[in-house]
Amino acid sequence: MTPAEGPPVRAKFDKARIGSGILLTLAAMCLMAIAFLALEITRELRYLSSANSDNVHWTLSQAEVEFLELQHAVDRSLHSDNSGLDRVVEEFDIFYSRMDTLARGQLYAPLRRDPAFIEPVTAVRTQLDAMIPIIDGPRDQLRDRLDDFARELHPLRLEVRDLATAGLKHFARSSDASRVSVSVTLLRLGIVTGVLLLALAILLFNYRRVMFQIARRGRELSDAYARLNTILETSLDGVIVAEMDGQILSFNPAAERMFGLEAPDVIGRGMGELILSDPERESDAAGMERARPNGPLHVIGQGRVKLEAKRANGDLFPLELAIERASTREGTLAVAFLRDISLRVAAENELVQARDRALAGEQAKSEFLAMMTHEIRTPLNGVLGNLSLLKGTQLGTAQARYVRNMEISGELLMQHVDAVLDVARFESGVETMRADVVHLGQLIQDIVDSQSSGAEAHGNSLQWGWVGAPLTWVRIDASRLQQVLLNLVGNAIKFTRNGRITIEAEANEAGAEMRLDLRVIDTGIGIALDDQARVFEDFQTVKSSQTRAIGGTGLGLSIARRFVQAMEGEIGLESTPGEGSVFWLQIPVEVAQAQDAPAPDATAAVPARATPALNVLLVEDDDINLEIARELLERMAHQVSCARDGQQAVDMAERTRYDLILMDIRMPVMDGLEATRRIRASEGASRDVPIIAFSANVLPEAKERFAAAGMSGFLGKPLKGAELSDLLAEFFASPSEAASAPSEAPPAVPRNPLEALAIRHSDELQQFFDWLDGVSVAAAEIAARAHKLAGSSAAFGQADLHAALIALENAAEGASDTQSLAPEIAHARMAWKAAPTPQLG
């Protein structure tokens, strides 16, 4: 592992490099200065050593000597014979030569500029030149003139003396100048040497500083290396450094533990062959192959990659791997960080399994709930159907009361089961959103209309209105919105006595989309703050002395919440106990045009009416349901044939032409859908008659499936006379009959048997209190009738009346005369006046 050179370190080195560069430049400059000085000094020395001077003093004094030699030779010659003359000539020549040198020699050029020197020289030379004819003439002549010659020479003595003195003075001066020049040069040399020494000192100082820096950096580097090593040694992740061809360079302890390999054994071997499982190895080899050229790497630089790795003992385990490229001076290396993620993967798998199990459980629960409620509905239908049949028979008073009670309880149970089924269906995801174009005002008005009687029964007023500009036609899941509003309004009515219930609608534009606010405001008992949060949960009812008498599954609000959320809306409430509640909801709506609305069903408005007697094939496997349906059809004067499964139905339809086939869906041997398909596909007698599905499954999807199978219509279970006759009218009523229908009396049987029961209950109460006003009434009779009415009052949600009637019954049972019952009767009458309209649920 080569310790990475971080950029700061590199920067430091650069700085040091620049520093040493400066030092080198300085040193070079010093060397140049030294060289320059050396040249300077050499030049100076050469100047000093190369004497352009000869021995000047000697030469000058030699001039005097040679002059004296000449004089001496002349003097001697005067006193001797001719032999001395040669000597005179020789001395003359020598002196002449000397003077010629002084007059013309380069050496004396500066000296000659001095008049004190050149004047005597010129004087002497003029005299000597004048003497040359005599010297060069015959010796006799020279001898004759030797006296004159001596005399003429004599004054030259002073001149020679002067020129020598002048010369010496001059050279003394120039020697001084030369000394000054030398001392200046030496001074300069001294200064430069000083500078040089200073430069050397700085150089030395810098050198020492650089040395210290290098030493410190070395220490830092080794510290960093040690730290890095410690990190690598103690790292929990495996770290492998490899060449770009996968050859391992370093293998840390964590990697050793992970793979069960020893570092010395793996260094130099290929990373892929050691740690990867066979299939991974192939791709890794390819990756490394690609890695060597400059192209993108297979795994390198891709962040975390999951691989299957192999331990030394052959165990395979999931490995998380990240490889990065590291550029070093020796070339590019791959640094791999590895993490054994087998525990994490196991935990993840466990979590996924747990979640799947939970989801499956949830699904199973929903399905179970849906199935169970469905299974409950079927026998309950049987009970209710038989009750309705029983009601049509001759019954005693007590029997009729029991049948009514059973019917009330049965309908209540059916409502509860339906509510649970709604939730279960919603939760199982079977329900899907539908978008219908509806008139919002109409929708709300319908709800108000349908609930106003219930509201009045509790002494409540129910009204609605728009806040701000109204919305008209909108595209919305109308059935759900209806359900939500029904639940909210029903709830408000339930918990409000002699109050006011108001529905407020408000359209709000929120950016591009339109939102509808609906508020159901009541002046009821309110909900305590602590309970507000949970009222939208499943099976939550608020327990208090005021609400004890008010029943319910506690599903109404939770269904409302689910539907609102499914419509991507919000629902909430504000409430003050004792003053009232506001349930609000906000949902997005899409503004639509009136023509988008489905054409109103022409037949829907047509009231139920008589249809001609029909030949009906009833297909149903359940005996009770079969009996109920047959009974109903026969009462309506239709002729009924029965089949117990799909196959029978197909066979019978083959042979006989029926006017109508009522087909159950779920049956043994062959189900209703298959039977329908076969009938439609056959050449049988009834292949084109209306086939009506007859099922407890009322989901829209189911209806679509029925239509796809070739069914013409749908009837829900339990079969109700009104629905049946509506449907038959749809298929068989002639227009002329339809036109005449309104003139007939309205149908005797109310569309909802519960409504009939409620009306009947109200009538009975009226009769009871009228009868009490009568003169002679037996106490026992009062008790019996009060008991009967108390039961139905409870069923119709008239809790106070129920309590008052029970009290009357108890009082009447022990009473000797009716007079003593007056307070109880009065109390019951008051409760009756205050009681809400009879309502189930």
Partner: protein
């Protein structure tokens, strides 16, 4: 240069010795004109009874001519000096010894080491600018070094060895 000279001097001397081997045997004729130079002392070839070698101008010319063109500190301008190289002259007389003493007409004398006598070294000049030199013009013989060719020849020592009006050489 000094160093080089001192290193190569023995070698040169050997070369010189070999080269001049036949010349050594050659006797020196008697001078016919006026004697300009007398060489005495430790020499092998002589032509006088006193055991010296006497040269007239013709004999000097016969040894071989060398020319130096240089300035001097004693004259003005550049001059062409013609003469016999000191090296050839010493070889001609089979001179031995390390030092020679050169003396002028006025008895001025200097010592010149024989190591100075090298090729392209000093000459004993008898002509300046093609004219023989009179005594007044520092003739008839003047030891001239090639001052202009090297700064080594521009020292006070060399200047002092540049003797003019030379008439005697003695080898010691």
């Amino acid at each position: 240069m000094r160093l080089i000279q001192s290193v190569f001097a023995p070698a040169l001397a050997l070369v010189i010795a070999l080269a001049s081997a036949p010349a050594m045997a050659e006797p020196l004729p008697k001078p016919t004109g006026p004697v300009l130079l007398t060489i005495s002392g430790d020499i092998e070839i002589t032509n006088t009874d006193e055991g010296t070698a006497a040269f007239d101008l013709a004999m000097l010319r016969e040894i071989g001519q060398s020319e130096i063109e240089t300035t001097t500190i004693w004259t003005e301008g550049r001059h062409r000096f013609t003469g016999v190289s000191l090296k050839a002259l010493l070889e001609r007389v089979g001179a031995k010894g390390k030092m020679l003493k050169a003396t002028a007409i006025n008895d001025y004398s200097v010592e010149i080491p024989t190591s100075d006598a090298v090729r392209n070294g000093p000459i004993v000049a008898y002509e300046m600018d093609g004219q023989t030199m009179s005594r007044r013009e520092k003739g008839p013989l003047w030891v001239i070094y090639p001052y202009s060719s090297s700064s080594d020849y521009r020292s006070e020592v060399i200047y002092s060895r540049s003797i003019w009006q030379l008439d005697r050489i003695s080898l010691e």
